[in-house]
C-alpha cells in the first residue's frame, strides 16, 4: 500500500515536471509576431461606410519606404462627414484630427485642417468636407502601419487609409527641439526635464525609506502585536524619541516643499495652465454633386460583389460620367473616365484599390438635365479581406458610399450613396 502511494507521488511529480517543461518550451520557442495594425478591420462596417469617407489621401513617401529616425512624412487629403451618419452614433460635435500607429512611433509635428491649426478639437458639420495636412516625424525603429484618423467624441476613432513604413535607426537618436515664449530652448521634448524628475522622486524615496527603516529596524510583527494587545507598552511601542523624530520629519518635509516651490517659481516665473479650448474650423466650400436616388442594393456573397441600382440625374451643366465608387476606404474605379484620379501617383495603399474595374450598366456621358437608371457592380476580394462583408451581421443592413462623377473637362462631382443592402447567398 505504502509502495503504491510512493509510486503515485512519483508519477504526479513527473507529470508536474513535464507540464512545466512543456509550458516553458512553448513560451520560449513559440513563434511571436509583432502586431502591426490597429484593429481597423475590426470596426463594424456601418462605422466605416457611414461616418467618415476619406478621399484624395496622399502620403509624401511611397508605401514600404525605408525611413530614418527624425525623417518627416506628410499626409494630406480630405474627409467627408457623411450626411447619412448613423442615428445610433453620436454626431461629430467634437472631433480631433489624429494619426494611428503602434504607439508613439511617429510623432505629430504639424496638424492642419482647412489651413487652420488643428491642435485642438473642433465641431464638424455633416455632409461637408474638410481638407487636412499632418506632418509626422519617424521616432522609433521598426515596421509600422500609419494612418490618418479622426477621433469623434463618444463615437471613437475613425481610421483612414494606412501605409506601411520601415523606420531605421534608434529611438535614442530622436530629437525634436522647441522654444518657449520666454526663450527657453528645449533640445528634445522626449527627455525634457527628466533628470529633475528622477532626482526629485529619488529624494522622496530616500526620505520615505529612512522613515520606514526607523521603525523596521526594531522587532516588528509578533512582539509589537502582543505588546500592543497587552496594552501596557504604549510608550515602548512609540517612544518619546519616535515622537521627536516625527516632529522633526514634519519640519523637514515642509521645509523641502516650501524651498522647492520657491525655487521652481523663481526659475519659471511665467507659467500657464493647460490649454483646453476648442478650435473653430468651418468646412471647405461645397463640392458640386450630382443627384442620386438609390433604388436598391445587393451584396452578392459568392462573388464578393456589391450591387447598387440607382437613378442618376445630371443637375450640372456639362455631360458627366461615373468614375469611382468608394466606401470604407475601398476604391472601385473606371479608369476609362477622363480626369479620374487612379491613386497610383499618390502613394495610396494599392491593396485598397480594387483590381477589377467598376462595372457600370451604362457609363456613356449623361447629358445635363438627363436622368438614367444605372446599375453598378463593385467586385473585389477586399470586401472579405477588409471584413466589410460582415455588414450582414449588423442590426441595420445598409451601405454608404461616395460616387465620383467627372465631366468632359475633368471636373469632379461627389455624390453620396446610401440605401439598403440585401444579401444574395447563392449563385
Amino acid at each position: 500500500m505504502l509502495k503504491q502511494l510512493e509510486v503515485n507521488k512519483l508519477s504526479r511529480k513527473c507529470a508536474s515536471v513535464l507540464f512545466w517543461a512543456m509550458i516553458t518550451t512553448v513560451s520560449i520557442f513559440a513563434p511571436i509576431q509583432e502586431a502591426q495594425a490597429h484593429g481597423e478591420r475590426n470596426q463594424e462596417p456601418f462605422l466605416r461606410m457611414r461616418t467618415i469617407h476619406w478621399f484624395d489621401v496622399e502620403f509624401s513617401r511611397p508605401a514600404n519606404d525605408v525611413m530614418q529616425v527624425n525623417e518627416l512624412l506628410t499626409i494630406t487629403g480630405k474627409f467627408r462627414l457623411f450626411s447619412f451618419w448613423p442615428d445610433q452614433l453620436p454626431g461629430p460635435e467634437k472631433i480631433y484630427l489624429n494619426t494611428v500607429s503602434a504607439g508613439a512611433v511617429f510623432t505629430k509635428v504639424e496638424s492642419w485642417v482647412n489651413e487652420k491649426s488643428a491642435v485642438q478639437s473642433f465641431k464638424g458639420q455633416l455632409g461637408r468636407d474638410y481638407e487636412f495636412k499632418i506632418v509626422m516625424k519617424a521616432r522609433w525603429e521598426g515596421d509600422w502601419h500609419v494612418h490618418p484618423m479622426v477621433n469623434v467624441l463618444d463615437a471613437g476613432g475613425l481610421v483612414g487609409p494606412g501605409v506601411n513604413y520601415t523606420v531605421e535607426g534608434s529611438y535614442s537618436d530622436y530629437r525634436h527641439s522647441i522654444t518657449t515664449i520666454s526663450g527657453l530652448v528645449i533640445d528634445d521634448v522626449s527627455t525634457f526635464s527628466m533628470n529633475r524628475i528622477y532626482s526629485w522622486h529619488a529624494l522622496w524615496a530616500v526620505l520615505a525609506l529612512i522613515w520606514i527603516i526607523w521603525w523596521v529596524r526594531r522587532p516588528l510583527l509578533i512582539p509589537r502585536y502582543l505588546m500592543n494587545k497587552q496594552g501596557d507598552y504604549e510608550d515602548v511601542l512609540v517612544t518619546k524619541t519616535d515622537r521627536i523624530v516625527s516632529g522633526a520629519f514634519i519640519v523637514l518635509i515642509l521645509a523641502i516643499i516650501i524651498i522647492s516651490m520657491n525655487m521652481a517659481t523663481s526659475e519659471f516665473p511665467r507659467t500657464i495652465t493647460l490649454q483646453a479650448g476648442t478650435a473653430v474650423i468651418p468646412p471647405i466650400d461645397e463640392i458640386p454633386s450630382v443627384k442620386i436616388d438609390m433604388k436598391n442594393g445587393q451584396y452578392f456573397i459568392p462573388g464578393r460583389t456589391v450591387i447598387a441600382n440607382m437613378r442618376v440625374t445630371n443637375n450640372q451643366d456639362r455631360p458627366i460620367r461615373l468614375g469611382e465608387f468608394t466606401s470604407a476606404n475601398l476604391r472601385f474605379l473606371d479608369r476609362s473616365v477622363k480626369g479620374i484620379n487612379d491613386g497610383k501617383e499618390q502613394n495610396f495603399p494599392q491593396e485598397l484599390i480594387a483590381k477589377e474595374p467598376l462595372r457600370i450598366s451604362d457609363n456613356s456621358p449623361l447629358m445635363p438635365g438627363e436622368s438614367r437608371d444605372v446599375r453598378i457592380e463593385a467586385t473585389d476580394v477586399a470586401w472579405e479581406v477588409e471584413r466589410l462583408s460582415s455588414l450582414l451581421n449588423d442590426p441595420e443592413s445598409t451601405i454608404g458610399a461616395l460616387l465620383y462623377f467627372y465631366d468632359d473637362e475633368g471636373t469632379r462631382y461627389i455624390s453620396e450613396l446610401f440605401g439598403n443592402v440585401i444579401p444574395v447567398f447563392k449563385k
Partner: protein, 291 residues
C-alpha cells in the same frame, strides 16, 4: 485587551534579548516583509491606476483642478485602511508611507516597461506624480499625536494640500508657455500633441475648462482644500473600515466537519490560534462559550 495565557508566555519569551523566540520572531519579520511589499504594491498600484488613471499617466492631464482633487482623494481610500492596519495591530505609523513608496515604485516599473518600452511613449509624457510627501505627513502626524482623529483632521488635510505643492517643482517646467501654429499652449500640451495617443485624443482630457472668479479664481488652492476636505472624511471612514476588517475572528459553523474537524472539535484557549477576536461573524467572543 488582555492576552491569552499562551500569548503572555510568548511575550515574556520575546522580551528576553537574544532568546530563541525573539530570533525566530525576527526571522519571521523578514520572511513576511517581501509578501507584504508585493501585496501592498499590487493593491495600491492597481487601485490607483484604475481610479486616478489618466490623470497620473499623462503630463497633459495634470491640471489645476481634477488632477489635484482626484489623485489624493482616491488614494486615501487605501491609505486610510492600510494605515489603520499597521497602527491598530502593531503601532507602526508607516502604513501610508509604505503605500506611497510602493505606489511610486510600481508606477515607475509600469511606466518603463509598459508605457515606454511597450507603447513607445517618452518619459516626459508619462512620468508619475509623487504622493510620498503627503503620505509621510499622514504617518508623521500619527507618530506625533498617536491619535487617529487628529490624523483624519490635520493629517488628511495636510496630505491633500501637500500633493500639488510637492509636485510643483517637477511640474512647473511643463507649464511654460509656447506658441504652436498660431496658438499659445503649454509645454505639457505640446508633448501631449506631439506624441500620438490614438485612443486618448485631446478632447477626452477631463481637465479644467474654465474657472469662475469665485475665491479669486485660484483653482489650485480651492481644489487642494476640497481634496483635503474629502480626504478628511475618507480617512476617518477607511481607517474604521480597515480596523474592522483586519480583526480576524471565527464563528461557529455547521460546515466544520467538511473541513476535517470532528463535530465536537473546538479550539481551546490552550491551543491558541490567536483566540477569538470580537466575534465579527456573530460568533461567541470566547471559545469556551462555543463548547
Amino acid at each position: 485587551m488582555a492576552l491569552l495565557p499562551n500569548q503572555e508566555i510568548s511575550l515574556k519569551a520575546l522580551l528576553i534579548p537574544d532568546s530563541e523566540a525573539s530570533k525566530f520572531s525576527r526571522k519571521l519579520d523578514f520572511l513576511i516583509l517581501p509578501i507584504v511589499v508585493f501585496a501592498i504594491m499590487a493593491a495600491v498600484h492597481i487601485h490607483f491606476m484604475l481610479t486616478a488613471g489618466d490623470w497620473d499617466f499623462w503630463v497633459d492631464w495634470k491640471d489645476r483642478q481634477f488632477w489635484i482633487t482626484v489623485s489624493p482623494v482616491v488614494l486615501m481610500i487605501i491609505l486610510g485602511a492600510i494605515q489603520a492596519i499597521f497602527w491598530v495591530h502593531f503601532r507602526l505609523p508607516i502604513g501610508a508611507t509604505v503605500c506611497g513608496l510602493l505606489l511610486i515604485l510600481g508606477e515607475w516599473i509600469n511606466r518603463y516597461f509598459g508605457f515606454f518600452l511597450w507603447s513607445h511613449f517618452p518619459m516626459s509624457l508619462i512620468w508619475p506624480a509623487t504622493m510620498i510627501a503627503g503620505c509621510m505627513f499622514l504617518d508623521l502626524v500619527l507618530g506625533l499625536t498617536r491619535n487617529h482623529l487628529m490624523v483624519s483632521v490635520f493629517g488628511a488635510l495636510g496630505y491633500a494640500l501637500l500633493f500639488p505643492a510637492a509636485n510643483w517643482f517637477i511640474l512647473a517646467p511643463f507649464r511654460l508657455p509656447m506658441e504652436l501654429q498660431g496658438s499659445m499652449i503649454s509645454v505639457a500640451d505640446y508633448i501631449g500633441f506631439h506624441f500620438t495617443r490614438t485612443a486618448t485624443p485631446e478632447y477626452l482630457r477631463i481637465i479644467e475648462r474654465g474657472t469662475l472668479r469665485t475665491f479669486g479664481g485660484e483653482s489650485t488652492i480651492i481644489a487642494a482644500f476640497f481634496a483635503g476636505f474629502l480626504s478628511m472624511i475618507l480617512h476617518f471612514m477607511w481607517w474604521n473600515i480597515g480596523s474592522y476588517i483586519s480583526n480576524l475572528g471565527w464563528a461557529k459553523t455547521s460546515l466544520k466537519t467538511s473541513m476535517g474537524f470532528h463535530k465536537d472539535d473546538q479550539v481551546t484557549r490552550e491551543e491558541g490560534l490567536g483566540g477569538p477576536v470580537e466575534g465579527i461573524m456573530g460568533g461567541p467572543t470566547d471559545p469556551s462559550e462555543a463548547k
